[in-house]
């Protein structure tokens, strides 16, 4: 144990661990998505490569790696190459503060929540740069959509996060989880005595997360039937592959955050068996349950229209999240007046 506590080695181990976690998740979530889509659409999905399709991510990866990275003439080649890096780095950074169990966290920052959100918002910049640098009209339309969508959905998301901050009183993700210990009725999702609208808050957070990660039904950035492939139209080979992996990495981060904030992180739903590997198991179980919901939604609903997407944010989500914010504030403060 003392060996792992050496700072440089600790950092290295966590770096490799997080990269492997993100890489493995991105690769196998693509497969899970395709298998899930197959199940919903009553077809087998990929089943040729390996045992029942389990080697498909490797086949895809090798194919993408073997392709030449084309930089089309007329593009801003520096930004064009930088965009895939910028889209992949933020989710890796975010995972550094996510507590996977009571002891498994790379950096237990006191401003963990702020850290995650500040890095999470870089993702948009990367998509915008990629779209802009491609010098393709479809990509530019997509880039413009991404920015306005992201601005619109960051507001209700942050309002929800402020609500959660008022409930927990800390930005340290580990502490937020510790507060939710002792059975599922202590999870923030079910804390209706703090705020009767808490489940609504979770739904708002989840919706915003879908929009922020550009997932269906809010996949305005890709919108393949309108914008060909949106911001990624000009990308091929691994450039496209990185964008694709980053989408899943962002979903993982989003679902991790939803688990931490609302579903009690690594806390067991029954009150005990939360420590060590059990905690890791509970955490991953909750995260993957949320991820399967994300996949399920994508293959069930058509895409929303762009302005109804913005209307949803500005006319419904923002007012409702403001109400929950005020309500939570009142519920927390009013009892103090009568003390």
């Amino acid at each position: 144990m003392s060996f792992l506590e050496l700072e440089p080695i600790r950092i290295l181990v966590y770096l490799v661990g997080i990269c492997a976690f993100v890489g493995g998740n991105a690769a196998y979530l693509v497969l899970a998505e395709r298998k899930g889509a197959g199940r919903i659409q009553r077809r087998p999905g990929p089943n040729e490569a390996g045992w029942g399709g389990w080697m498909q991510p490797f086949a895809d990866g090798i194919k993408l790696l073997a392709k030449q990275v084309m930089v089309p003439p007329g593009t801003d080649s520096l930004l064009f190459r930088a965009a895939p890096l910028m889209v992949m780095a933020p989710p890796l950074m975010c995972l550094a503060t996510i507590p996977f169990s009571d002891s498994l966290v790379a950096r237990n920052l006191n401003i963990g929540l702020l850290f995650v959100f500040s890095f999470g918002s870089i993702n948009v910049m990367a998509l915008m740069l990629g779209g802009w640098a491609s010098r393709n009209k479809y990509s530019i339309i997509s880039a413009a959509r991404v920015v306005s969508q992201s601005v619109a959905y960051e507001i209700p998301m942050l309002l929800v996060v402020i609500t959660m901050l008022m409930v927990s009183g800390t930005m340290n993700l580990q502490e937020i989880i510790v507060q939710q210990g002792g059975g599922f009725w202590h999870w923030n999702l079910f804390k209706v005595w703090v705020n009767p609208l808490m489940p609504v808050t979770f739904v708002i957070f989840f919706t915003c997360m879908l929009a922020e990660t550009n997932r269906a039904p809010f996949d305005m950035a890709e919108a393949e039937s309108e914008l060909v492939a949106g911001a990624f139209t000009e990308y091929g080979g691994m450039g496209f592959g990185v964008f694709f992996m980053a989408e899943y990495a962002n979903i993982v981060v989003g679902c991790c955050l939803a688990t931490v904030l609302f579903l009690g992180g690594w806390q067991s739903p029954i009150g005990y068996l939360s420590g060590g590997l059990w905690g890791l198991g509970w955490f991953l179980l909750k995260v993957y349950a949320l991820i399967s919901t994300v996949i399920w939604i994508r293959w069930t609903f058509p895409r929303t229209q762009f302005y109804s997407l913005l209307n949803l944010s500005w006319k419904i989500l923002i007012p409702v999240s403001l109400v929950t914010l005020l309500l939570t504030g009142a519920m927390l403060k009013i009892p103090l007046l009568f003390r």
Binding site: G74, D76, A216, P217, S225, E226, R303, T304, Q305
Partner: protein, 380 residues
């Protein structure tokens, strides 16, 4: 590389307020369903002008009709609109029969109605899946193709072809329908009715779909008349125009069916018209299956090489996309003097430029999906 000077010139605020750009949508674009090219002048995401450019798959069907015998041209008709091939062969066969005054046996007429209506359902299923694909819903097309597959299997058992049927012949059919087909069709009707209800619950009543289609893409009856739009497009504008009623052909007057119309003129109206049409087609098939009698399926003594008497004949059918009409001008030889094909998709596309003005791009593409264009049918 863009030089900074160019970039600055493009970014100048003097340019910006009135700046538009041209978006070349197609001929290879995922929403164009084939090789349709639309040149769009865009103001941001708003369309100022959308000019459809056609002709990428022009195959000179009309000219081909004029330099070969009637029988040789017959298979061509099913390649014009490959999704509703039965209706197209029906129109050509009907025109020739009308000109040559060939009486078609009643059993053949019944089977023609059954196969035509099956074809209408299969065509609408493709449209339905493709429209949902345009709207970003990936799953319905696989369900639609599942149902369509059943129809294709039935028709394959009947005439050997799955897509471009050449089943109707001058004076009847190429072979009789066996019990397997009739029973299979009966089973299909029983299978399809609950499926349509499921689609209504799962897809038609979906709030996202409703928001994407309702009050969007208005095509008024006036516009339809101006450009000659027919089929579900004009019925979605509240006009109960259906060739099966307006210019009755075959034995359609014997059947009791409604012409679904919706006066809203929006994309949703056209969607609902087609969904209702599938139910009406099922009703027609049921009645035809009950009414069918034994008998010959080919008129006696149809000459091998047809020579139509000199004259001008028209025959229109209600194809899946609207009114398809064949006009044959004969000068008494074994090849026609002129074959004119009036295809519905061509007229339905013509109104696109006027109807899409001022629309936002995703809505315009949803409207294009609701027109149910088949590009070979436009270019023919």
């Amino acid at each position: 590389m863009i030089t900074s000077k160019e970039s600055l010139a493009a970014d100048s605020p003097d340019h910006a307020p009135h700046e538009t750009f041209v978006l070349n949508l197609g001929p290879q674009h995922p929403a164009a369903h084939g090789v349709l090219r639309v040149l769009m002048t865009m103001d941001g995401e708003w369309i100022q002008r959308a000019e459809p450019i056609i002709g990428y798959i022009h195959r000179m069907h009309e000219k081909m009709g004029e330099n070969r015998t009637y029988a040789k041209f017959l298979p061509n008709t099913s390649r014009i609109d490959y999704l509703s091939a039965m209706h197209y062969t029906h129109a050509f066969v009907g025109a020739v029969e009308r000109a040559a005054k060939i009486e078609v046996p009643i059993r053949a007429e019944y089977i023609r109605v059954i196969t035509s209506e099956l074809n209408r359902i299969s065509s609408h299923m493709v449209w339905w899946g493709a429209l949902l694909l345009d709207l970003g819903g990936f799953t319905p097309i696989l369900y639609a193709f599942d149902d369509r597959e059943k129809i294709l299997d039935l028709l394959e058992g009947l005439c050997g072809a799955r897509l471009t049927y050449c089943y109707y012949r001058f004076g009847g059919l190429c072979n009789d329908a066996d019990d397997a087909f009739l029973n299979g069709t009966r089973d299909f009707v029983k299978h399809m009715q609950p499926r349509l209800k499921m689609y209504r619950d799962l897809v038609t009543d979906n709030i996202i779909l409703r928001k994407r289609l309702t009050d969007i893409g208005e095509i008024s009856a006036e516009l339809c008349r101006k450009y000659g739009a027919t089929g579900p497009v004009i019925r979605g504008a509240g006009v109960a125009y259906d060739v099966r009623r307006a210019e009755p052909y075959s034995i359609y007057p014997r059947f009791d069916f409604k012409i679904p119309t919706y006066p809203e003129c929006d994309s949703m109206a056209r969607y609902l018209v087609r969904m209702d049409e599938m139910e009406q087609s099922l009703r027609i098939i049921e009645q035809a299956l009950d009414g069918i009698t034994a008998g010959p399926v080919m008129a006696p003594k149809v000459p091998r090489v047809l020579k139509l008497p000199p004259g001008d004949t028209c025959y229109a059918v209600e194809a899946a996309r609207g009114r398809f009409m064949v006009r044959i001008v004969s000068d008494g030889k074994d090849t026609p003097y002129r074959v004119k094909l009036r295809t519905p998709s061509f007229s339905n596309l013509s109104l696109y430029e006027e109807a899409s003005k001022g629309m936002i791009l995703p809505d315009a593409l949803a409207m294009m999906g609701s027109l149910d264009l088949v590009i070979p049918d436009i270019d023919r």
